[in-house]
């Protein structure tokens, strides 16, 4: 990969599920150091885009390409995408009863370290790392001993996703509705984790990392400043701009584009 090639380059991406086309020609380029917000009403295809990037097999890519740090992302199974540095924070994190959160995190981290040619961490080294991350994110250490997401509150699940992000340190973090259902404290934690992901030890912005924030509401963008904002509707990006676009949306709503949030029940087109 040469240095000025983007982290993520999506060209004319079409994807379908059960024979129904959801993404209808997405173009998106994300470079190192950038934070892109993808906004749009419910049902637009935001989660579909996120899941396709992570490699969910239920979705079929019918056209287009996705290049991740110079590699054909679509050719890889989900685990290889993760190992190369793609991370998706799920809108609905899964519960895995019977598997301790700490074991899950350690196994994931070591799978990725192994792929990168780094030595695997033993239990003690891992514990030291995770303690430091938990302290930074103010995550309750009790979450480590519980089964992955089992019986976690909505906020705990989202904090746990951010903890995974902080431990796995991907090149590309896709956060799908990471802000939904969070109280202000949890939202701050999530923002802290997300921002830390983008900042190097010397305080400068990391140009080997990028982030895609999928969000339904603008609230999150008060805590994580995007560099780019896109509006997705019915499987297409209708408008792209800077942070101002999010502010306009907040003021005017999606009506400005001639459509309404389907969730709001207006049903207008």
């Amino acid at each position: 990969m040469n240095d000025d090639s983007p982290i993520l380059e999506i060209k004319n991406l079409h994807a379908a599920i059960d024979g129904r086309e959801i993404l209808k020609g997405i173009d998106l380029t994300v470079r190192g150091g950038e934070i892109h917000a993808i906004m749009g009403p419910n049902g637009s295809g935001k989660s579909t885009l996120a899941q396709v990037l992570a490699g969910h097999e239920a979705y079929t890519v019918t056209d287009g390409s996705v290049t991740f740090r110079g590699h054909d992302l679509l050719a890889l199974p989900p685990e290889d995408r993760a190992r190369q540095g793609v991370f998706l924070a799920f809108q609905y994190p899964l519960e895995i009863p019977g598997v301790a959160n700490t074991y899950f995190l350690k196994t994931a981290l070591n799978a990725i370290r192994k792929h990168r040619g780094l030595p695997e961490l033993d239990a003690m080294e891992f514990l030291a790392l995770i303690r430091q991350k938990m302290k930074l994110l103010e995550v309750d250490p009790a979450l480590l001993q519980r089964a992955v997401n089992e019986g976690f509150s909505g906020g705990e699940k989202k904090r746990n996703e951010i903890l995974q992000l902080a431990v796995l340190e991907p090149h590309l973090a896709i956060l799908d509705e990471i802000d939904s259902g969070l109280d202000i404290d949890a939202l701050k934690t999530v923002a802290l984790g997300a921002n830390a992901q983008m900042i190097a030890a010397d305080g400068s912005r990391r140009d080997d990392r990028a982030m895609v924030l999928v969000t339904h509401y603008e609230r999150l963008l008060n805590y994580i400043q995007p560099t780019h904002v896109h509006v997705l509707y019915k499987g297409l990006i209708h408008e792209s701009g800077g942070p101002d676009l999010a502010r306009d949306l907040e003021r005017e709503g999606y009506a400005r584009f001639g459509f309404e949030d389907e969730l709001a029940g207006t049903g207008a087109r």
Partner: protein
């Protein structure tokens, strides 16, 4: 089958000839009567409701009786026996039975807690409590039960004195000698728990393969398919207030037909927990019959079966709520791969007057391939008012969404599958005491993503 053929196949007379002078007349009479009964009805087959989905035709023309095994040349040490059972690091008390016979040299019974006695059945027949149990009819009533009553050569007797309390399990190893010992082994084990005793018993049933008499490796390598029958009935008498946990791990070799029957009488305010773990044998049939025989009696039955290739497993459980305020809870979980087949039949009988009975039954199955099959059936028969009975059964595949979640974090598809399987099984493992939980999780963990430890993986 005609009576003559059946009796011939049993080889009863030569068998009895060997025992003349060793056994009391009443026992010989029981053997003759049971053999005659077997001649009438033979092995159970699909005409019996309880054998609808399980066929013993795998036994073929196997002789059902054989002379008492000559163990003179077999050298078994505790270490060798524990290794065969997969429990090499167990340093607690252990009683080793080879083809049903207690081998003192292979056992470690010196450090048994006071109040616990282990003997071989053949040495203990004259004890009144033992004789009394042997004379009583069995709960199991079919041709297999006849075989046990006619041909049982030996087995374990565990007697626990009133108020004996011991944290550490007593380990019993039942080792078979496929290809060398008798083709069929019929055992009777008797467990007598005194009032308010609190003990744990753990059993492993496995093949003693890979060694000949002199301890050298021989042709009977692991995995040899020598057809043999491992057949046992264990009776448990649990006196008032006793709290007993009994765990069996069945990891017989692939040529084995395993029949394990557990019959428990649970007294007033007493409790019997059974953990039945079935991973070996080509066919394993389990019958558990629990009689909650007095007020406040309680039983907890847990089971885990892991089947692959063409293995078949069948769990039949019967809980008899004969008295008020009795409680039962069942949790059976199974994983079936390849063209493995399984049966779970859970009968709960609540007799008239057994008010305030609580009975809960759960059977969950994961099918990992299209060819794998499970037949699961609850059978609730309730003749009392004011009871709480529930049951639930599920058959499903590994959760695709959870698999994707794990893979999206870098776990390979194989590792993600294994982790989910382990998670599924761990709900049962949580009930299993050491050293069994360690052995069993060892079997499961061998294939986990990282070298984990049971405590570490589990929530």
């Amino acid at each position: 089958m005609t009576g003559l053929v059946a009796a011939d196949r049993l080889g009863l007379e030569p068998f009895l000839a060997n025992r003349v002078g060793h056994e009391p007349a009443w026992l010989v009479a029981i053997r003759r009567e049971a053999a005659a009964r077997f001649a009438e009805r033979g092995l159970p087959d699909r005409h019996l409701e309880d054998w609808k989905y399980t066929s013993l035709t795998a036994l073929g023309e196997l002789p059902l009786s054989a002379p008492v095994p000559d163990l003179a040349g077999i050298v078994v040490t505790p270490a060798r026996a524990l290794q065969a059972a997969g429990l090499s690091d167990w340093d607690g008390p252990v009683a080793v039975f080879v083809s049903g016979r207690l081998i003192p040299d292979a056992s470690r019974l010196g450090d048994l807690p006071a109040g616990i006695h282990v003997t071989g059945l053949s040495d203990r027949i004259s004890a009144p409590a033992v004789a009394d149990l042997l004379k009583r009819p069995l709960r199991s009533d079919d041709g297999l039960a006849d075989l046990i009553r006619a041909l049982a050569i030996d087995g374990a007797v565990v007697e626990v004195a009133d108020r004996t309390v011991s944290e550490r399990p007593l380990l019993l190893l039942f080792l078979s000698l496929p290809g060398a010992g008798p083709a069929a082994v019929h055992l009777r084990n008797l467990f007598l728990f005194g009032k308010q005793s609190q003990v744990q018993i753990a059993e492993v049933h496995a093949a003693l393969t890979g060694l000949d008499a002199s301890g050298e490796k021989d042709a009977r390598a692991e995995g040899t398919r020598a057809a043999h029958l491992s057949h046992q009935i264990s009776q448990f008498q649990i006196d008032a207030g006793a709290v007993v946990t009994h765990t069996v791990l069945q990891r017989e070799d692939p040529g084995c037909v395993y029949v394990g029957r557990l019959e428990a009488e649970v007294g007033r305010d007493a409790s019997w927990t059974s953990n039945a773990l079935s991973v070996g044998a080509e066919l394993a049939r389990w019958d558990l019959h629990v009689n909650l025989a007095d007020d406040g009696a309680c039983t907890i039955l847990n089971g885990l079966y892991l089947e692959a290739d063409r293995q078949h497993v069948d769990f039949h459980t019967t809980i008899d709520h004969a008295h008020p305020h009795t409680t039962s809870r069942e949790l059976y979980k199974g994983v079936l791969d390849g063209s493995a087949t399984g049966v779970f039949n859970g009968k709960v009988l609540v007799r008239e007057g057994a008010i305030k009975t609580v009975a809960q039954q759960t059977n969950r199955n994961l099918l990992l391939s299209d060819a794998a099959q499970i037949n699961t059936k609850p059978q609730l028969e309730i003749f009392a008012d004011d009871v709480k009975c529930s049951h639930g059964a599920t058959i499903g595949q590994l959760d695709a969404a959870a698999l994707f979640y794990l893979r999206s974090r870098g776990l390979s598809e194989d590792d993600a599958r294994r982790l989910l399987l382990y998670a599924f099984a761990s709900e049962v493992l949580a009930f299993v005491p050491e050293p069994m939980s360690r052995a069993l999780s060892g079997i499961l963990l061998k294939r986990l993503p990282a070298q984990g430890d049971f405590q570490e993986v589990s929530r």
